[in-house]
């Protein structure tokens, strides 16, 4: 739908929008206001839920993060204003929060890029016709189940609990450190640098990355399967190589989905149970540091939002190049 048309459809004058929502109103009982009423009825569950279970707690939670929270048995809690003390605590006093935040954000940046690339490559492969494609699709989507909710958390909790030596031993046995030998080799020959470190970090995290990319693969796959094969045929006839066809047809056609996927990946990563910041906030919560824990989670949310903003800005610019 073009921009102009949408604007015309959605421009409601104030008096009209008020009258549209009044149940029986003989003066304004137009088709349009009747439609609006039906629409609002359909969306009503969400509006109610949002106001009661989302907006109200959100405002309260912001308020709480600005106050000292003391539990009063039998009546709830008592708030006293304390001049951003909770935020100061989170940024300056809390020994772990900053550290975990920086760590996780770094990991997220690397993993998110790797997830997007991997999901895209896998989706391109799964979109081709080959024997066993159905089985492969089914397996690649399995992580949506296997890496959800409590499941990854339990296992990571396990590795924290272990003595360091033992966990290293087990890591070596279960092959988590795949790239060790190669890394050593490159280090000796003097190639190892920051770039390689990041690369090896990605390779070592490949299991996590594959497990986190189920939904992204499906989203890309949906975009890929919507591309008409006749485009490729035409390109082939004109003498276009597969490489060129990929960059000139496949990539531009799928790039709008890149944004959706990037946002999903970032959110997914920020909200994982095995995320250290998340765990720390939960720990604070169980220690009845309610004010501090809400302040920390708002900082965390702010960081997540900033990342989503940056990602959408960059991707929008990339996508815009093709959007002509």
């Amino acid at each position: 739908m073009s921009r102009k048309k949408r604007d015309r459809n959605e421009r409601w004058s104030l008096s009209e929008s008020v009258s549209a929502l009044i149940p029986i109103n003989e003066n304004y009982d137009t088709m349009r206001s009747r439609n609006a009423r039906t629409g609002v009825l359909f969306v009503l569950p969400f509006i109610l839920g949002f106001l009661i279970f989302m907006l109200k707690p959100m405002i309260q939670s912001v308020w709480m993060s600005l106050n000292k929270v003391v539990l009063v048995p039998g009546q709830g809690y008592q708030l006293t204003w304390n001049n951003f003390e909770n935020y100061k605590y989170a940024m300056g006093v809390d020994p772990y929060f900053n550290q975990y935040l920086v760590e996780e954000v770094g990991r997220m940046a690397v993993n998110a890029i790797a997830t997007l690339v991997l999901a895209f490559v896998v989706a391109v492969i799964l979109n081709q016709k080959f024997k066993g494609r159905t089985v492969a699709r089914a397996i690649f989507f399995l992580p949506v189940i296997l890496a959800s909710g409590v499941l990854p958390g339990v296992e990571s909790q396990l590795t924290y609990n272990m003595l360091q030596g033992v966990s290293d031993e087990i890591a070596a046995q279960s092959g988590i450190n795949i790239s060790g030998a190669l890394q050593d080799l490159l280090m000796v020959s003097g190639v190892g640098s920051g770039v390689f470190d990041v690369l090896f970090q990605m390779i070592d995290a490949i299991y996590d990355i594959v497990m986190a990319s189920g939904i992204q693969i499906i989203v890309f796959l949906s975009g890929l399967s919507a591309i008409s094969p006749s485009l490729y045929e035409a390109a082939d006839v004109e003498g276009c190589t597969a490489w060129e066809a990929f960059w000139k047809i496949t990539f531009p056609m799928v790039s709008p989905l890149l944004l959706v996927n990037a946002i999903y990946t970032i959110i997914d990563f920020f909200m994982k149970n095995n995320n250290k910041v998340m765990e720390w906030i939960n720990t604070q919560f169980t220690r009845t540091r309610y004010g501090e824990s809400t302040a920390e989670s708002w900082i965390y949310f702010g960081v997540a939002l900033a990342f989503i903003g940056i990602a959408s800005f960059i991707i929008n610019r990339v996508v815009k190049q093709y959007d002509t």
């Binding site: 439609n35 039906t38 279970f53 896998v122 339990v154």
Partner: protein, 335 residues
Amino acid sequence: MTLKAEALPRSDKRSANKKSGGYLFKSGVKRWTVSIVRGLLVFGLCFMIIQPMLTRFGTSLMQEKDLYDSTIVLLPRNVTLENYSIVFDLTNFPRSLINTAWTSLIVSILQVIACTLVGYGFARYEFPLKRFWFACVVLTIVVPPQTIATPLYMYFRYFDIFGIFKTFNGEPLNLLSNLTPYLLMSATCMGLKDGLYIYMLRQYFKGIPKSLEEAAYVDGCSTLRTFTTIMLPDALPTVLSCFLFSFVWQWTDLFYTRNFISKTMVVYSTELSSILTRMSRYFSQDAEKAIIVPPARQQQLVSIGVLICCIPLVILYIFTQRTFVESIAMSGSKE
């Protein structure tokens, strides 16, 4: 389409190749290389996804001494089912899983009904502030539930509408002792990942041509009836896949479950998350002081817990994977 030379007999193939100036041979080689590389990549990645499950299953059948024997890798030498009965004890097995099953079912049904209605409303009707409300839907996806956990908890712990309950009972209601809060939230699209389902369903409904409904309206069909008899059957695969998503994610969810369900009944995911602490207590029942359970043993028992959680879902997934994969593939494409 590339030319295919396989169908020809060998001598014809050679002459055809010569005539094409080596094109057929080259394209054949290219095709083979591509499919070999692709095969390796797909197999490798698939193996990586499946392998932990297989290892878990293998170790789950081992006796404890097999764990420390480095000659035993995947297949147990001394097969035993005793580990399973230990984990059953640790996680309150049949009861907790049954509770998980029915709560997940109810919650996901409520979620999907609400989200379908809302998604349809967003896709088809124009009403004031529509874009604002849709932005709110996106907001619910983005805001981590942890940020609003405390106020929500307090809200339900001391539940009251304009102080009515306080005047009658002397104190506000404690709704956390039953399932009401979570059911209310699910029915109003505030459950686990509901924003995502609304988004998916809205995308799908937007893709259905409007003329279908218009025809129904012209024939005198009411709004609700059009929705139930014309739109819903069409959207059934997407609705079903949303249902499966919400069922699976609810099944393994820890956060909402811990806050809103585990207070009233034993649920599997919370049992699983605290399995480690309970493990040491379990093994030190007879002994005087707490025993540190050996890490390998810990890992084995946790793996079994994870397996028990996954197996029902994987079985469900095997039967429904087509709905899962194909319908999402359809809903996403209609931007």
